[in-house]
C-alpha cells in the first residue's frame, strides 16, 4: 500500500490509501482519520473516512494547504504504529430477501439490467457460482459485514463482506442506473453491499429490504432519537433472513416504538481475523447471540 495524496480544489486533501479495496486499507484509513480527529488541527472542518481512502476538508484561510499536507504525512507514520484492534459493535439487521417491493422495482427497470429475463437475485447467484438463490442468500446472510464507509446520501452504509477475497460476493452495477430504489433496500455493487437509507436513484443489484429504518431526520424512531443516522464506519453488521410475517411484526414494532435493534459491543482484531476469519466470525456471532 502506497498512500497517494492529492488536493481536491483548494479546500480538500484527498488521500488514497490503496487503489484496491481490502480490510487493511480500510483499517488504515479509519486509523489515520481517528488520529487526525484527535489532533483537532485548527482549520480542519470535516474528516471523511471512506473504503480505501479518506478526505479532509479545511479552510485555507486558517491553515496553508501545504502545511496541512505535511502534517497529514507526518500523522501517517503515527497511525502505522497503532495496533489494528477496534472496539466496536455488532448489529443484527433483519432482511426480507426476495420481497415484493424491490421485485416490483426490478421489473420496472428491467431493460437497464444485464439479464432482462430474470431477477437480481437469480443473476447474482449465477455470476457468483451458486446453484440456487437460496444458496446465494445463505452466503449473503452467513458472514458478518464491515461498515467501511457512510455516505453517498444521508446515512447510507457501504458494507464489506468479512470473508476471504475468493469468497466475496461480487456483482456488476445495473447497466444504467435506476431512477428509483425503495427505501431500506439491501443492495450490492462491485464487492460492496449497501442499505439504501432513503428512496431514490441507484445502480446496485437489489436483494431484499429491511424493516429497520437507519435514517430518521424527524428523530421520532425510538433508537434514532439521539442521532438521526444509525451507522458509523467500523460498525459490524449481520443480516438475518426473515419472512413476510416477521417483516410485518418488526415494522409494526418500529411504528409503535417497541423495536430495539440487537446490538452487542465487540472488539475486533484485524490480525486475528486475517489468521482465521472463520473463527473470528464464529466468535462475533457468539457475542451477538449471547453465547
Amino acid at each position: 500500500m502506497t498512500m497517494r495524496y492529492s488536493f481536491g480544489g483548494d479546500e480538500h486533501i484527498f488521500v488514497e490509501v490503496d487503489e484496491e479495496m481490502s480490510l487493511d486499507a480500510f483499517f488504515k484509513s479509519l486509523s489515520i482519520t481517528n488520529v487526525v480527529r484527535d489532533m483537532k488541527i485548527a482549520g480542519v472542518t470535516e474528516i471523511c473516512p471512506a473504503n480505501a481512502s479518506f478526505q479532509i476538508k479545511y479552510d485555507p484561510d486558517v491553515i496553508a494547504p501545504e502545511s496541512l499536507l505535511l502534517e497529514l504525512q507526518r500523522l501517517e507514520g503515527l497511525a502505522d504504529s497503532n495496533d489494528s484492534t477496534l472496539a466496536t459493535r455488532i448489529i443484527e439487521v433483519p432482511v426480507y430477501y426476495n420481497d415484493p417491493w424491490t421485485h416490483e422495482t426490478q421489473m420496472r427497470f428491467r431493460e437497464r439490467h444485464q439479464d432482462p429475463t430474470g431477477t437480481d437475485l437469480e443473476y447474482a447467484a449465477r455470476v457468483n457460482g451458486y446453484a440456487t438463490v437460496d444458496d446465494f442468500i445463505a452466503a449473503h446472510a452467513g458472514s458478518p459485514w464491515f461498515v467501511s464507509m457512510v455516505g453517498f446520501v444521508a446515512g447510507l452504509p457501504f458494507l464489506y463482506q468479512m470473508v476471504e477475497r475468493n469468497k466475496q460476493l461480487q456483482t456488476p452495477k445495473y447497466l444504467r442506473p435506476r431512477t428509483d430504489t425503495p427505501k431500506l433496500t439491501i443492495g450490492h455493487g462491485g464487492c460492496f453491499g449497501a442499505v439504501y437509507s432513503v428512496r431514490g436513484a441507484g445502480g446496485y443489484q437489489m436483494f431484499g429490504i429491511t424493516p429497520m429504518p437507519i435514517y430518521d431526520p424527524a428523530q421520532e424512531i425510538s433508537y434514532l432519537r439521539d442521532f438521526m443516522i444509525f451507522f458509523k464506519p467500523g460498525d459490524i453488521v449481520k443480516f438475518k433472513p426473515v419472512d413476510r410475517a416477521e417483516y410485518d411484526t418488526v415494522q409494526a414494532a418500529v411504528a409503535d416504538g417497541t423495536f430495539v435493534p440487537l446490538i452487542k459491543p465487540v472488539t475486533f482484531s484485524l490480525d486475528e481475523f486475517k489468521a482465521n476469519p472463520a473463527a473470528v466470525n464464529a466468535k462475533l456471532l457468539g457475542v451477538l447471540h449471547g453465547a
Binding site: 483548494d10 484527498f14 472542518t45 432513503v198
Partner: protein, 323 residues
C-alpha cells in the same frame, strides 16, 4: 410576521450558509449555491450574512407578506415586482402588509436570493436552516416550498435605508463566456495526457441535469483512459474507482463522457474517477449557470486558486463596507 407562498416557483428552498460537519455521514453542507449573493441580500435588509433566505431557481415564487418588511433580491437577474410594479434587484426595498412579491422572466443567471428583514424562521437542524431535500432535512419541512406554505419571520434587526444598493461592479456573475477554474488532480492519472489536455481545450454546454446536487456538462470530446487491470472492488468500467469521498466541486466523468461538477447538495461519495476540482472562488458562478450555456474549464495552480479566493474575499469585504 409571515410569508404566504401563493405560487412556489420551480424549486424554491430555504437556505443559509450551510451545514458543515456531517459530510462523513453523507449529509452535505447545503446552503446557497451563490454564497456571495446570499450574504449580500442579507446585508441589504440588515440581517447577519448567514441568516436564512429563499433561494429561487429559474422561475420566481409569488409571495404575500402579512406585515411590513424590508426585502432585497440578489443573484440572478430575475425582475422583481411588488404588486405588479417592477423594482430594482440588488437593492433594499420596502414592502407593506398584504402586498405581493412576484417575479418576471429570468434575464440572466439562474438563482435569485430573496432576503427578508429578520430572516426566515425555520428550525435549526444540525446547525443550519438550509434545506436538503434528498434527505428530507432542514428548511421548511425538509422540502421545496409549495403553494399554501406559511413561513414565519424573525423580527427585523438593523434598519437599512430603502434604496440602498450593491454597486454593479460588486455583483459577480458568470458573464457571457464563463470559465471555471480547476485544480487538476484526484484521479487525473486515469486518463491519457492528451485526453486531459482536450478536456481543458473543449467548450462544454450545461446539460438539463443541473441542480443543487451537481451540474452536468456535454459537448466535449470523450476521454480516453489509461489501460489497467481493474483494482479489486473498483468495478470493470475504466472510469470506476473503489468508492471514495467526493470533494465539493470535484469533476467526475462517468465512462469518460459527461463531466459532473458536484455542488452544495453533493452526494458525498461514489465510484467514479475525478479529473480535479473547481476552485472555491468559482463555485458561486456555477450556481448562476443556465442549461445550454457554454462553459470552458481552465487549469490553475494552488497559488492561483488561493489568489482567486482572496479576490473573492475582497469583493465580499467591499460589499460589507458599502452598505
Amino acid at each position: 410576521m409571515a410569508l404566504e407562498i401563493l405560487k412556489p416557483g420551480l424549486a424554491t428552498t430555504v437556505q443559509d450558509l450551510g451545514r458543515p460537519g456531517y459530510y462523513h455521514l453523507g449529509i452535505p453542507v447545503s446552503g446557497g449555491m451563490d454564497r456571495l449573493s446570499l450574504a449580500g441580500a442579507n446585508l441589504l435588509v440588515g440581517n447577519e450574512e448567514g441568516d436564512a433566505v429563499l433561494e429561487a431557481v429559474f422561475l420566481g415564487p409569488e409571495i404575500r407578506f402579512t406585515s411590513d418588511a424590508v426585502i432585497a433580491v440578489t443573484g440572478a437577474e430575475l425582475p422583481v415586482k411588488i404588486d405588479g410594479v417592477e423594482c430594482p434587484t440588488w437593492t433594499t426595498l420596502g414592502i407593506k402588509a398584504d402586498q405581493v412579491l412576484s417575479f418576471g422572466f429570468l434575464k440572466a443567471g439562474a438563482r435569485a436570493y430573496i432576503a427578508i428583514s429578520g430572516g426566515v424562521d425555520v428550525p435549526v437542524v444540525l446547525g443550519s436552516r438550509s434545506t436538503y431535500p434528498l434527505g428530507a432535512l432542514g428548511g421548511y419541512r425538509g422540502r421545496k416550498l409549495e403553494a399554501g406554505d406559511v413561513l414565519a419571520l424573525f423580527p427585523a434587526k438593523r434598519p437599512v435605508a430603502v434604496g440602498t444598493a450593491i454597486a454593479p461592479e460588486l455583483r459577480r456573475g458568470p458573464g457571457a463566456s464563463p470559465v471555471l477554474r480547476v485544480l487538476p488532480g484526484l484521479y487525473r492519472h486515469r486518463i491519457t495526457a492528451e485526453a486531459g489536455k482536450g478536456f481543458f481545450e473543449d467548450t462544454w454546454k450545461v446539460a438539463p441535469e443541473a441542480d443543487r446536487i451537481g451540474y452536468r456538462f456535454r459537448g466535449g470530446r470523450p476521454l480516453e483512459f489509461v489501460p489497467r487491470e481493474p483494482p479489486f472492488g473498483a468495478g470493470s468500467d475504466p472510469s470506476n474507482i473503489v468508492d471514495s469521498c467526493y470533494p465539493y466541486g470535484s469533476i467526475q466523468i462517468p465512462a469518460g463522457a459527461e463531466p459532473i461538477v458536484l455542488h452544495r447538495d453533493a452526494v458525498s461519495g461514489g465510484g467514479y474517477f475525478m479529473i480535479g476540482a473547481v476552485i472555491s472562488a468559482d463555485m458561486d458562478l456555477i450556481g448562476q449557470l443556465q442549461p445550454n450555456q457554454k462553459v470552458r474549464f481552465s487549469a490553475v495552480t494552488m497559488e492561483e486558486a488561493l489568489a482567486a479566493r482572496k479576490d473573492a474575499r475582497t469583493t465580499a469585504a467591499k460589499i460589507r463596507e458599502s452598505i
